[in-house]
């Protein structure tokens, strides 16, 4: 190839990469101040009497779901806030497993955020007042990544602790089943 062609090829390639390159990593470091805007009690139920379908996903979900920074921050918080003590690295223990496809209280990101904020009977603590809304959504994004739900380019590929098996980037893409099995 001539050097002029090479230069043009390079410029073209650079230009092609630019538009889509910045979208994935939106870094919401400040988020909205909390006050009264808390994850509004998303019900884990699948029956909503008098309506024909479940309510739509909370508007904040798309800021955090599939967001690599949120999942990475959530991974740090998961260990620091002792989620790992009850749920291990997704396997469960004192609390139910988070890496399988059974969700007692719902597997949508807003349902998980509510579970973290409000607590649940049988022992899930209520973290409202102890974590900010932003931190709770970050954690919910990470919890979803434990069951392979977000897209693979957003999930963390390495663990900060002893290896716990296949990294998330290699596990099969999960999905939420219909049975939200409430076992107790």
């Amino acid at each position: 190839m001539s050097s002029r062609f090479r230069v043009r090829l390079l410029l073209f390639g650079a230009g092609a990469m630019m538009p889509g390159a910045c979208d994935r990593e939106e870094h919401h470091s400040r988020a909205k101040p909390v006050g009264e805007t808390v994850p509004g009690g998303e019900s884990p139920d699948t029956i909503f009497p008098g309506t024909s379908s479940a309510p739509p996903l909370d508007a904040r979900a798309k800021l955090y779901d599939n967001n690599a920074n949120a999942i990475a921050m959530g991974q740090t918080l998961y260990t620091q806030m002792n989620c790992v003590g009850c749920h291990s690295h997704g396997g469960g223990g004192m609390g139910p497993p988070l890496m399988d496809d059974e969700w007692r209280y719902g597997g949508r990101i807003d349902q998980i955020a509510t579970t973290i904020a409000e607590g649940r009977p049988n022992g899930m603590p209520a973290w409202r007042g102890k974590l900010t809304e932003h931190q709770i959504w970050d954690l919910a994004a990470y919890v979803r990544s434990l069951s392979g739900l977000p897209s693979k380019d957003a999930v963390s590929s390495r663990t900060e602790s002893m290896s716990t098996g296949t990294p998330q980037t290699l596990t099969p893409h999960g999905d939420i089943k219909n049975s939200d099995t409430a076992q107790q």
């Binding site: 890496m99 022992g123 602790s161 002893m162």
Partner: protein, 618 residues
């Protein structure tokens, strides 16, 4: 010619003996018949002290059978000759499906069953066929307490005394229920689940007091033991296991034997500032009592967090044994088995009281198959360690220095910050966890159902938030040398060696029962309830229960005068959490590392909670 025929004779004899004994390998390659390691020694045995182990009346009123914790029933109708005919007499479904660690109690024709959370108490009428329920009592503990119970929502047993049944609930209450009517007499709230406290232990009732201790060494709880008045439930005294001497009740009577345990306010000085307030040292295990000296013996749990770099110092008074006066709670002596514990080696295992031949007379001692893998024989008057012998494979300690009493950790197994230390043996549940051994004064042996696990462990900074775990460790356990995860050992405490050993594929998490007929019973995690010969370990009988067995088997005399054997199945506890908590086997660090060791358990057993009672056919 004669020599050749002699060889044939010997070969033939060997072949026959092989066929007769249990040399055959079972289909599972890790479970094997007993390996006899030493002859059953003759001569004087150890014997339990008479005051702490009175003559057997055929009842079973406390989980340990008696204050000496022998777990030995003198009934001898069932013998190795006839146990093969043992058959089911009746069953009872408890309605729970969590780990069942408690024994049923039997008092004069009534059987009492205490379940894991929600801690129902049933009374069954043994005088009627099928043992119908007389009454049931529901204490209704807080459901949120399930979220702060580290190792399944178990209950280790109730106690009968003076017409009442005493037991603890998961959310930290102690109940007294009338044994005839099933009505509550009193209840006292002792634990606070907001701080991560629960109560899973079986109380000790003696001298008009009910002794209760808390759980939560993994939750940043401060450990204590309390005495309630048996009649009213009022708190009489409470001794903490960390902190200033005044709160640990260390006064003028306190004379620890070893220099490492002597000093003022060591419960504060051997910790970084304030760390003792969240330092663990709970009392979730077994209590024994000597009525002659009025001393209560119990062990304290691991210090918290598991990450030892966050708590430099010896961390008194964790991982050690206390002797306290039951009247006042004042400590008389203390021995720390694992100062500055590195591996979650609690010291709450059972304490068997015995008098061993010593010189011309007998010496009063304690037998302790310790979590850290050493079988301790300790003088129960002053806490002097007479011997500490490994009864499992140990590479994380070099030994116990009997001069100073101090255990010697192996430096290459010490956890380092940010790194994973591999092949630590024994693993965190130790060579044996909570499940107690039985001691037979007939054979003089201690029957220990235990485990053979090693682990990899990595530490990270544990963050303390009250009501949440305070651990800071990632663990993966796996089978130890030999590949078998469980082992049943008959230990000679005088000669300090095993007499026979049975390898088991799965870890053994069940207590043992010894009987006067020389039959020993224990259960496996996949539900096999086994009877073996107390002298040589030969398997005599087995029964497949509906769920894994981790509960205490008992033997009692029924209203018809026959000897019965009872056990409640229900897999769970720390070892069985993968089944009882429906955990995901793909995360090996689950259940603090146990999931990696028992990934096959969900296929071998399922959750349940059924009482089985056996007897010989009429």
């Amino acid at each position: 010619m004669a020599r050749v025929s002699g060889v044939f004779l010997i070969a033939g004899a060997m072949a026959m003996s092989c066929a007769l004994s249990a040399c055959k390998r079972s289909p599972n390659s890790f479970t094997s018949g007993p390996t006899v390691l030493a002859p059953l020694g003759g001569g004087a045995h150890a014997l339990p002290p008479a005051a702490a182990a009175p003559a057997d009346d055929g009842n079973w009123t406390m989980p340990g059978k008696n204050y000496a914790a022998t777990r030995f029933s003198a009934l001898n109708q069932i013998t190795p000759a006839n146990v093969g005919k043992l058959a089911l007499a009746f069953t009872f479904s408890t309605g729970t499906n969590k780990g069942f660690e408690a024994p049923p109690l039997v008092v004069n024709g009534t059987m009492y069953v205490i379940t894991p959370f929600p801690n129902y108490l049933y009374a069954l009428d043994l005088t009627k066929p099928g043992a119908p329920t007389k009454w049931m009592f529901k204490p209704k503990p807080a459901a949120a307490s399930q979220g702060v119970a580290c190792c399944d929502v178990v209950n280790r047993g109730a106690v009968y005394d003076n017409g009442r049944i005493f037991f603890n609930t998961l959310d930290g209450q102690t109940f007294a229920v009338d044994a005839n009517s099933g009505q509550m007499v009193w209840r006292t709230q002792l634990g606070n689940i907001q701080r991560g406290e629960t109560i899973t232990m079986a109380p000790l009732v003696a001298d008009g007091k009910v002794l209760v201790g808390n759980s939560g060494g993994e939750m940043g709880v401060r450990g204590w033991i309390a005495a309630l008045d048996e009649g009213s439930g009022k708190l009489l005294w409470k001794a903490y296991n960390t902190g200033p001497d005044k709160e640990v009740l260390l006064g003028s009577r306190f004379h620890p034997f070893y220099a490492m345990d002597q000093g003022k306010d060591l419960g504060v000085k051997s910790w970084p500032p304030d760390a003792w307030k969240i330092g663990g040292a709970t009392t979730w295990g077994w209590l024994s009592y000597d009525p002659e000296t009025h001393l209560v013996y119990y062990g304290t749990s691991n210090p918290g967090p598991w990450n030892p770099d966050q708590r430099p110092g010896d961390n008194k008074w964790s991982s050690g044994v206390f002797a306290r006066d039951i009247g006042t709670g004042q400590a008389v002596w203390f021995y720390q088995s694992s100062p500055h514990d590195l591996f979650d080696h609690d010291d709450v295992n059972e304490i068997i009281l015995a008098d061993i031949p010593w010189g011309k007379g007998r010496r009063p001692v304690l037998f302790r198959p310790g979590r850290n893998g050493f079988f301790y024989v300790i003088d129960r008057r002053n806490g002097q360690v007479l011997s500490a012998t490994p009864y499992g494979y140990i590479n994380s300690y070099k030994g116990v220095d009997l001069r100073t009493g101090r255990i010697i950790p192996a430096p290459d197994k010490e956890p380092k910050p940010g790194r994973v230390t591999r092949d630590i043996c024994p693993a965190s549940p130790g060579a044996k966890d909570w499940n107690p051994a039985a001691f037979s004064p007939v054979t003089g042996l201690v029957y220990i159902a235990h485990i053979n696990l090693c682990q990899d462990e990595g530490h990270s900074e544990a963050n303390y938030i009250s009501g949440t775990p305070y651990v800071g460790a990632d663990v993966k356990m796996y089978a130890g040398p030999g590949g078998n995860r469980g082992v049943f050992t008959a230990w000679d405490p005088i000669r300090r060696r095993p007499v026979f050993e049975i390898k088991e594929d799965l870890p053994l998490w069940s207590p043992a029962l010894a009987t006067g007929g020389n039959v020993v019973f224990y259960g496996t995690m996949d539900g096999w309830f086994k009877a073996i010969d107390a002298r040589n370990g030969k398997l005599l009988w087995k029964f497949k229960a509906g769920s894994g067995i981790i509960g205490q088997p008992i033997s009692y005399k029924g209203p018809d005068g026959r000897q019965y054997i009872a056990v409640i199945c229900g897999v769970g506890g720390w070892a069985g959490a993968i089944v009882s908590a429906n955990m995901d086997p793909s995360d090996p660090t689950g259940a603090l590392g146990f999931v990696n060791a028992v990934k096959d358990l969900p296929l071998k057993t399922t959750a349940g909670g059924i009482l089985y009672v056996f007897a010989l056919p009429r």
